[in-house]
Amino acid sequence: MLPVMAKVSRLSFGWTALFLGAALLSSFGNWEQDPKLQEKVDSAILQAFEIEGYIPIPIELDAIDQSAGTPKARSFKIMGNNVLLGYGYVGEAPSMKRVFDYIVLFNPDLRIKKTKALIYREDHGRQIGSERWLQQFISMTVNDTPNYGENIDAISGATISAKSMTKAVGKVLINFKKYKEQEPLN
């Protein structure tokens, strides 16, 4: 939680915004207690949106990663200077023997801005971190479906993780489509 708050304070949002951010963050749950993951989430968001600070506002989405047995999935609006910058989703997906953490970032119109693998816990299949491969998801909308081996290239030697990432992004898109249908976008 701290890295985000430190960055937020630089934006001079004022004490009200800080208090609100802190309260919301504290309701986020598990993964904020993982400083390494928190740092990587912050870094991914700050770099992708080219900002110095942000406030995450949790939103309700179906639990995408329940099939992987994880309670860590989180979806949120990304706010900066009281403006909606986009949306984010941090989740886990299975690799060959373990799970990896990933993030999907959206523009305000729910078009994918960026996807990243954040923490990977085994030696095999690390190619899914390749920017060249991940950029295939960029600009997909909630009406698109990523299909491994079709509109998403297969990766030799990383089939399980690459398929898993493709499937996870597909589920994120479906869930954000439902969200879009339920909530008018700002």
């Binding site: 990587k40 870094s43 991914a44 770099q47 990896f100 990243k116 693998a117 954040l118 923490i119 990977y120 690390r126 899914i128 971190g129 920017e131």
Partner: protein
């Protein structure tokens, strides 16, 4: 009779050994001096492996120029080579300097935050070795390291690992790492020489273990060309070598220390080379150079004030 033969054998062995060491030192010097001359240089760097999957590799860096390398000081224990870049045939930029010192014990090692630690190596550790000391364009320190020149199987090379500040190509562009652990390998080739690097970009914090951000391969080739291609640099050095001899003297007095040397990056928002340029133009005195250099030295216990950026 037996004693005479034994003594003769011992003396012979000693003599052979002595000749061999001397011969090796000369062979080393020849390799070092093989880096002198006019070269077409290509600089190539690419980031390779990162322990973290989310690290986004930066774009490759490639560049090229002609470079004149001149031995400005030479003795059996020291060869100093000044490198000068030649751009567009006429524009000359004073580049790096490499000093090679035989069985040298006084070295400096980069720590972080523009600080170098000066120390003395044990005599036995540097036996037969050459220290390479590398300096910036303004003759401030960059990095140093000691190792043995190797001449085997027709190859002639020297390699060493040492810490340095960020390279000039990334100095003002990046702040996600603060120490470059450089794996330097300089090999003399038929065409000239190759400076190969296996670098680690490191995040260093006080009291914490170093963290590797990403590794990098550097492959800089120096292909020998006609000296005429570097005429502008040769002329430039003739005109400016007296000034830089004084600058080296001034720096040498500063380097004569044990412990830390911390330098300011800027004074009044200007880097050191901008202060030295006008002094170079008028071939200023050593006293004037000393006055400028002193402004850039952070004294022990002095706060790193706002001038340092």
């Amino acid at each position: 009779m037996k004693r005479v033969i034994l003594l003769g054998l011992c003396l012979g062995a000693l003599s052979t050994q002595g000749f061999s060491q001397d011969d090796k030192q000369k062979q080393d010097i020849n390799s070092i001096k093989d880096m002198c001359g006019c070269y077409k240089v290509t600089f190539n760097y690419t980031e390779t492996f990162s322990p973290e999957i989310d690290y986004e590799k930066k774009l490759d860096y490639t560049s090229g120029a002609y470079e004149w390398a001149e031995a400005i000081e030479e003795s059996p224990e020291k060869v100093s080579i000044q490198h000068l870049l030649v751009l567009n045939d006429t524009m000359v930029i004073k580049h790096w300097r490499q000093d090679w010192l035989y069985e040298n014990r006084n070295v400096f090692e980069y720590n972080m935050d523009n600080q170098w630690l000066f120390s003395t190596l044990p005599k036995e550790q540097v036996k037969g070795q050459w220290t390479q000391k590398v300096y910036q364009v303004d003759d401030s320190p960059r990095y140093s390291g000691s190792a043995t020149w190797v001449h085997v199987d027709g190859k002639n090379y020297w390699e060493n690992r040492t810490d340095s500040p960020l390279p000039r190509r990334e100095y003002s562009k990046r702040n996600d790492y603060n120490v470059l652990s450089r794996g330097n390998r300089q090999e003399i080739t038929k065409e000239g020489w190759v400076h190969e690097q296996d670098n680690n970009k490191i995040v260093r914090k006080d009291g914490k273990s170093d963290v590797l951000l990403v590794q990098e391969k550097g492959y800089n080739t120096y292909v020998k060309v006609d000296d005429a291609k570097c005429k502008a640099a040769q002329d430039w050095w003739k005109s400016n070598k007296d000034f830089w001899a004084k600058a080296r003297d001034s720096w040498d007095s500063i380097y004569d220390r044990e412990g830390a040397l911390t330098l300011r990056n800027t004074v009044d928002d200007k880097p050191l080379y901008k202060y030295l340029a006008p002094l170079e133009a008028k071939n200023a005195s050593k006293k004037a150079i000393n006055e400028v250099l002193e402004k850039f030295i952070i004294k022990d216990n002095a706060p790193s004030d706002g001038e340092s950026k």
